[in-house]
Symmetry: C2
Subunit: 263 residues, 2 copies
């Protein structure tokens, strides 16, 4: 048996999230189905993080153990040939025996896309949140700056495990307009995220951008630890798990020349 | 009754093309359904050109006559609120009584998108043709240059009307890499197009780019007037009706800052 690390891209539109569920299509379920076909036995796939129903990924990371004697490239090719067209293994490589997609992760980066103009778009409807009124991006960046560092994010989400802490460290936040697509993109890197946290942050920051929530109010919400104090939760289809980092160097490039196919 | 000109965007994935068909979803059918709801009577919608099943548009043009006393902006808003999310009226404006979306058109521009790399893409799967081997873009441009001017394009398509001529004039052709998306895009402007013509040209030009068809052979195919001499027909999902021109100025911008949401 050999341990493999895989970087996985998926369009989450038609799936009930990452995690295996009986009788419902999930990303983990589709991956395990393909590995079962290739190996003849059940192979458990462990993801770096669960993504919710409708959420996408360009850089989800997973590990699994498998007896495979051909090259990793052949394993990737075999998987991609069998996977549905909305799931893709971007790369697969041998991993250290100790490697664990979730436990070894140092940080995760999420990307949220907003189409902020009056007219909706046919082609971006599954990959952006359409906010048809003007947003003050400077205000949204000012508020997002307060998220940096260690905070108790209980106001913005629930721990995935009932006994878990709600303290997380945010390393990078940015609202910026993508020059290629014209979309407004929010990038956030953190040590970890609570459930619904990115969508709750985005929804609340959009209310800051609309002038519905002041800078001071946003900071009050953050320290309140009160889930009811936060603003709206942004819809899942604008959200992408962009990258998971395990070391000093970025595993996944987020600059404009990188392989993200959503811009 | 007032005549209106509308610029229509649609994701053709789920439709049986532009033209009305009984019992099948089409773009024309969906537009007429919405205008029926708004007006209470049948309003015939005339498109500049039929697009085939699975083909998209960012700049299809249509005209229709309707009794409407509010502003064109309100008409657009009402239509877009009722239309399915994969059809959008980009703009609607009053038209001259003589205006006819098809007969008044001076030229049409199509765009074809190719993802030319080994790995497929989850997010571009409905909007690009995945060609996983290297293409010689210079060769494809050299061959495409021979399409400029007036030619009998019988080798590349059938007239939509049985008695029609197969001679068309091409005004512009270009293979270029879009810097934002990295996609290989073919842009072609002509006085008119035969059925399947753009897809047949793209499929044959791709074979030139792969070295399967020489420059001389490509020119021979063009003069052959023999449909069987052409290469493969590219799949519909990479094709977009990008713009229809009625005058001296471009009605639709095709530069990087324009409103095309597919890059």
């Amino acid at each position: 048996m050999m341990k493999f690390k895989a970087v996985v891209e998926y369009d989450g539109t038609l799936y009930h999230g990452w995690q295996l569920q009986p009788q419902r299509p999930t990303i983990q379920g589709e991956l395990e189905k393909v590995l079962l076909r290739l190996s003849g036995g059940l192979i458990r796939v462990h993801g770096a993080g669960r993504t919710d129903s409708g959420v996408h990924a360009v850089g989800q990371v997973a590990h699994f153990e498998m007896a495979w004697t051909a090259s990793p490239e052949k394993l990737r090719g075999a998987c991609n040939a069998l996977l549905p067209k909305d799931i893709l293994i971007r790369c697969v490589e041998p991993a250290e025996p100790k490697f664990h997609a979730r436990h070894s992760a140092l940080s995760k980066t999420y990307l949220y896309q907003i189409l902020d103009r009056p007219l909706r778009s046919c082609f971006r409807r599954y990959y952006t949140w359409h906010v048809p009124f003007g947003l003050d991006v400077a205000k949204m960046n000012e508020a997002a700056d307060h998220l940096l560092g260690c905070h108790d994010f209980a106001a913005f989400g629930a721990p995935t495990d009932g006994t878990d802490s709600t303290i997380r460290e945010m390393l990078f936040t940015q609202w910026a307009r993508d020059p290629g697509s014209g979309l407004l993109q929010f990038t956030i890197t953190g040590s970890g995220f609570l459930r619904y946290m990115v969508r709750s942050l985005v929804g609340t920051l959009v209310m800051v951008g609309q002038g519905k929530i002041s800078q001071q109010r946003f900071q009050d919400v953050l320290v309140s630890r009160n889930r009811a104090a936060a603003g709206q939760t942004a819809p899942p289809h604008g959200l992408f798990l962009a990258a998971v980092s395990y070391g000093n160097q970025a595993e996944f490039e987020l600059d404009g020349t990188g392989p993200i196919d959503i811009r």
